[in-house]
């Protein structure tokens, strides 16, 4: 790679100074902090949080034998309460075999097809969302702890660049809203800081559980951009960056959002 010219660096510095930039650590707030008290109460109480239905479904699937191996997730990993505690807090992680980052859903899919020998589940399928929600729920209350893995750094940087690049017919970047205007409202909606700490989560508007990628896809469609493909490196890079940005914040899965 060529070194950027001095004028370019100067430009970049100028641009940095002109925008509001990163959120100060003391100002970071979960999306749930922006919600109406009723919605907060719905998330906080497991008997009213609709996401708990997927946690339950996921718990069932965790113990179910599948595929040529005839083994269940529990057959290899035992009790999820112990073996999956903290897992979601450190994903996306480096996949040693490919040398690339893999998100939690990707890892679960990999276990299913390669280790259980079962047919792949679609990314947004109810079953895969349920297992992911169940596994992520085992980290509820734990701080986001991105791995200190230098081989992930270039992907985090790609994620940061995607986050700050204007896109779509409306020519807006994620950062335009989520770094610079998180205390504002887009029509009646709180813009929020886009922390990924509650996913998969139940959205009242979807009347279902949904993934972080589904949320990001909606934001891209909102600015009239062509969304990245499901499971793509771009989405995983964005997630890596968002998790780094949310380091230390508590996992809330399953979150509830309006």
């Amino acid at each position: 790679m060529r070194r950027p010219a001095a004028s370019l660096i100067a430009l970049a510095l100028l641009a940095g100074a002109a925008s509001a930039g990163d959120i100060a650590p003391g100002e970071r707030r979960s999306g749930s902090a922006f919600m109406a008290p009723e919605t907060q109460a719905m998330q906080a109480d497991d008997t009213s949080n609709p996401g708990m239905l997927w946690v339950l479904q996921g718990a069932g699937l965790w113990g179910e034998k599948a595929g040529r191996s005839g083994r269940s997730c529990a057959g290899c990993h035992g009790e999820a309460v112990a073996s999956m505690r903290g897992t979601a807090a450190r994903y996306p992680a480096l996949d040693a075999a490919s040398g690339k980052p893999i998100d939690l859903t990707g890892r679960i899919s990999q276990c299913r097809t390669e280790r259980q020998g079962a047919p792949a589940l679609a990314r947004e399928s109810d079953a895969l969302l349920a297992i992911t929600t169940f596994v992520a729920h085992q980290s509820r209350g734990l701080p986001v702890a991105p791995p200190e893995e230098p081989r992930l750094d270039p992907y985090r940087e790609t994620g940061r660049q995607l986050f700050t690049t204007r896109m779509g017919q409306l020519d807006l970047s994620c950062a335009n809203c989520h770094d610079d205007n998180w205390n504002q409202r887009l029509a009646g909606s709180a813009v929020t800081q886009a922390h990924p700490t509650g996913y998969p989560l139940y959205r009242l508007e979807w009347q279902s559980i949904g993934s972080l990628q589904r949320r990001m896809r909606n934001c891209m469609i909102g600015v009239r951009a062509e969304p990245f493909a499901s499971g793509s490196e771009e989405f995983i890079a964005l997630e890596l960056y968002l998790m780094q940005r949310a380091a230390g914040m508590a996992i809330e899965t399953p979150g509830v959002r309006p």
């Binding site: 002109a18 925008s19 109406a36 009723e38 919605t39 690049t165 204007r166 896109m167 779509g168 017919q169 409306l170 020519d171 807006l172 335009n176 809203c177 610079d180 205007n181 504002q184 409202r185 887009l186 029509a187 009646g188 909606s189 813009v191 959205r203 009242l204 508007e205 909606n218 934001c219 891209m220 469609i221 909102g222 600015v223 009239r224 951009a225 062509e226 309006p258």
Partner: protein, 162 residues
């Protein structure tokens, strides 16, 4: 309560959706969303003094269009004097009284291309061939609004005197 909140983002999210187009065609007729051309214009100081379209805009159609947030998007960011407070955007200054603060030509330039005045602005450029990254196929080569639509908005906004 929650439906009101949920509605807000879904409108922007559904901008690309079929329902938005259908409504746009029923609504203002004259110009279909798929047949928008960019017309040339002259900027004098911080204004475009000449109308973009041959016909003058109609303030009533402008008011209707500003209310169609799938299509004009204005009220996602701006408040309007007539709007329901809790559904109004706060990303931009209120448009109440804009007709006394700015001239017709100044309003026109701000809708056509706010970034000409402030390159960092988050306000979309409404009347130019879009040049951003990853534009969805359905929106490529099309301005956000056509000349006649912008004239309707201008005709309405000049009537907003405080």
């Amino acid at each position: 309560m929650s439906t009101a909140l949920a509605l807000a983002w879904s409108t922007l999210a559904l901008v690309a959706g079929v329902s938005g187009h259908a409504r746009a065609q029923e609504g203002l007729g004259q110009e279909s969303a798929t047949n928008r051309q960019v017309v040339p214009y002259v900027v004098t100081d911080d204004a475009i003094t000449e109308p973009l379209a041959v016909q003058r805009g109609d303030p009533a159609l402008g008011e209707a269009l500003i209310g169609e947030r799938h299509r004009s998007l204005c009220i996602l960011c701006h408040a309007l004097p007539s709007g329901v407070e809790r559904l109004q955007g706060t990303l931009a200054p209120s448009l109440a009284g804009i007709g006394s603060r700015l001239s017709e030509g100044q309003i026109r330039l701000r809708i056509v291309d706010m970034k000409r005045l402030n390159p960092e602005s988050i306000m979309p450029t409404y009347h130019a061939l879009p040049a951003s990254a990853r534009i969805a196929p359905g929106w490529q080569g099309k301005p956000v609004l056509g000349a006649a639509e912008i004239e309707h908005l201008v005709a309405y906004l000049v009537t907003l005197k405080e």
